[in-house]
């Protein structure tokens, strides 16, 4: 990491450029569409521009604002629950050896391997008996299936490089376990919580099938709304909602780029996916 050769640096620069082009390029037509009044084949750019798609998308009628709020709420809740469960689970997996550890790891990884629809159908029947279908709470819970693995893996990577003796030292100096967590453990694992949390947020943010199945069409998050407009052929409005939908992902990517550089253990756990 410290004495990179010029070749390696050039390669990383190139990789960065490709990544940006790959991420930004699909957004360009989306953005153009959202400001276009018709955009037809031989034209490279639309002949006429308008703000009407945006006006509609941001109006009360379209439901985009409500859906945005709902999606943010669901993703935040799923993220918070992932952190709550993922931190202790990651600690157990990262710090301790115990019998059946491989099995637990496999179970945690399973949702990233098994097709989501299979999992969702199973959960659907369970949720019926629990009365969780068609509720926001049910959607939040089902989002944990794909978000938890990321959180747990990130946290187990963090804890694998963590020395719990610091906690003993704090206790010995007179800190209760709560204060020990706050002053000693938390600052040490914060990078993992941030990275894992952002991933969990994004994974929840992009759920479609799980939301559709468990929400039963009543919990309309942004991807569902987006899909409705896309299939109805309104490219201009789809473009506007698409931009709104994609923005958080880009912001998060920029925020985490620093943490993803591999200088800390936060992403070490991903090596195992």
């Amino acid at each position: 990491m410290h004495n990179d050769s010029p070749w390696l640096r050039a390669f990383r620069g190139l990789a960065g450029a490709v990544l940006i082009v790959w991420l930004v390029l699909p957004l360009v037509p989306l953005a153009i569409w959202s400001f276009a009044r018709g955009w037809f084949f031989p034209d490279i750019l639309p002949k006429q521009w308008t703000l009407s798609a945006w006006e509609y998308a941001l109006s009360e009628r379209a439901g985009v604002i409500d859906s945005l709020g709902l999606t943010i709420g669901i993703s935040l809740a799923a993220t918070a629950l992932s952190i709550l469960v993922g931190v202790p689970a990651g600690r157990a997996l990262g710090l301790y050896k115990f019998r059946g550890k491989e099995l637990v790891e496999l179970l945690i990884l399973a949702p990233t391997i098994v097709p989501g629809i299979a999992v969702a159908l199973g959960i659907h029947s369970v949720f019926i008996t629990l009365g969780l279908n068609n509720t926001v709470g049910g959607v939040v819970l089902v989002h944990l299936v794909p978000t938890l693995p990321y959180m747990v893996l990130v946290m187990s990577g963090i804890f694998a490089n963590y020395d719990p003796a610091f906690e003993s030292q704090a206790r010995s100096l007179g800190a209760s376990w709560l204060k020990t967590f706050w002053y000693v453990t938390f600052p040490a694992i914060l990078p993992g919580i941030i990275v894992g949390g952002l991933f969990a947020f994004l994974v929840s943010w992009s759920q479609y099938i799980l939301t559709l199945l468990i929400g039963g069409g009543r919990v309309v998050t942004l991807p569902l709304l987006l899909f409705n407009f896309a299939t109805s052929g309104r490219n201009d409005i789809t473009g506007a909602i698409g931009i709104v939908y994609i923005l958080p992902g880009i912001i998060i990517l920029i925020l985490t780029a620093r943490h993803l550089s591999g200088r800390n253990g936060a992403v070490g756990g991903f090596g195992r996916i």
């Binding site: 610091f166 010995s172 007179g174 800190a175």
Partner: protein
């Protein structure tokens, strides 16, 4: 002001069959400094952690002033442990590290600042309060760890090899500092080391632990004069062990009949004497004719390998005394009776 006592303290780590600490019993009087001495892996850190409440004993008890503390949480025991690897909190400045214990005791900010400043001077690290621990040398980190423990004035202080990373000069200074602070504050202190010299200089009493068992618990000089067994004598640098028969007054062995000091045991036993107590020249008693087999010049002293009959004897002498003897030639020696000791 705390009298610490360990009663048959035992630890068997999960998954291990042999105890890492086997029925350790020690009485450590109020305000005294006891050294736990022993080679790597003998159970020193294990003992400290159990006293600090960071590890649960398999059996046995720890009492402070005759009250068992095993049920008390580590933060309520009034014990502070300084770990072998310092464990300074990396996200805090040096000053915040040192003030941590006071902050947990809800001392107000201004008072913490004042006392941190004081103790930084005491451990000779003024001006370093704002740094991060990673910006300090190993020795400086060790002193910060020490300051962080002392500042809370614990009832019992546990120091796990607190001097191991200091250079010789600092080590002497810190040794004296620990001793004077400990006596001034009257803190009952247990001090881990694998260096016998450190234990001897610093401690009121030394507990020698070998392979999880207490071998001897005495004042330092006793380990040299009256070691409990061969292992103890060897740990303290003893090299001469000669099997034979004791009458209590004299010892019969391949070296001939040697006069013993008063209080020596009778019966079959092993005679031991320290290399530095082998005297060159004729003596009033216990004189022997040895042959010089080898010599190693060590600057202030010379190590000699001597042979008496078929028995090899290790000796340490003043270089001036032995300069005239040739390897292969005869050397007259004697063993003063008060320096001999018989082991069972």
């Amino acid at each position: 002001m705390t009298h610490v006592s360990l009663k048959d303290l035992t630890k068997v780590y999960p998954g291990s069959k042999v105890p890492s600490l086997d029925r350790l019993s020690l009485e450590i009087p109020t305000g005294e400094l006891t050294a736990l001495l022993g080679p790597s892996g003998c159970g020193k850190t294990t003992t400290m952690k159990m006293i600090a409440g960071l590890l649960t004993p398999t059996s046995g008890d720890v009492t402070f002033d005759d009250r068992s503390i095993l049920r008390e949480k580590p933060e309520h025991r009034g014990v502070v442990m300084v770990f072998q690897n310092y464990l300074l909190f990396p996200y805090m400045s040096v000053a915040d590290n040192i003030g941590f214990g006071l902050k947990m005791r809800k001392v107000d900010k201004a008072e913490i600042d004042r006392r941190v400043g004081e103790i930084l001077d005491l451990v000779k690290l003024p001006d370093l309060g704002k740094r991060r621990p990673s910006e300090l040398s190993g020795g400086q980190q060790q002193r910060v760890a020490l300051a962080r423990a002392l500042i809370v004035q614990p009832k019992v202080l546990l120091l796990d090899e607190p001097l191991s990373n200091l250079d010789a000069h600092l080590r002497f200074e810190m040794r004296d500092l620990i001793r004077s602070l400990q006596q001034e504050m009257g803190i009952t202190t247990i001090f881990v080391t694998h260096d016998q010299e450190e234990a001897v200089v610093l401690a009121d009493k030394v507990a020698l632990i070998l392979e999880g068992r207490l071998c001897q618990y005495d004042q330092a000089d006793v380990f040299y004069k009256r070691p409990a067994n061969e292992a103890v004598a060897r740990f303290f640098g003893g090299q001469n062990f000669i099997a034979g028969q004791s009458t209590g007054a004299a010892f019969d062995s391949p070296l001939g009949q040697l006069t013993l000091p008063q209080g020596a045991i009778a019966g079959k036993g092993t005679l031991t004497f320290r290399p530095e107590n082998v005297k060159i020249g004729e003596g009033q008693s216990n004189s022997l004719n040895a042959t010089l087999e080898d010599r190693i010049y060590l600057g202030t002293q010379t190590r000699l390998r001597l042979r008496v009959g078929d028995t090899m004897i290790e000796a340490i002498a003043n270089p001036d005394e032995v300069g005239g003897f040739d390897v292969g030639g005869p050397v007259p020696i004697h063993l003063p009776p008060q320096t001999l000791w018989v082991l069972q």
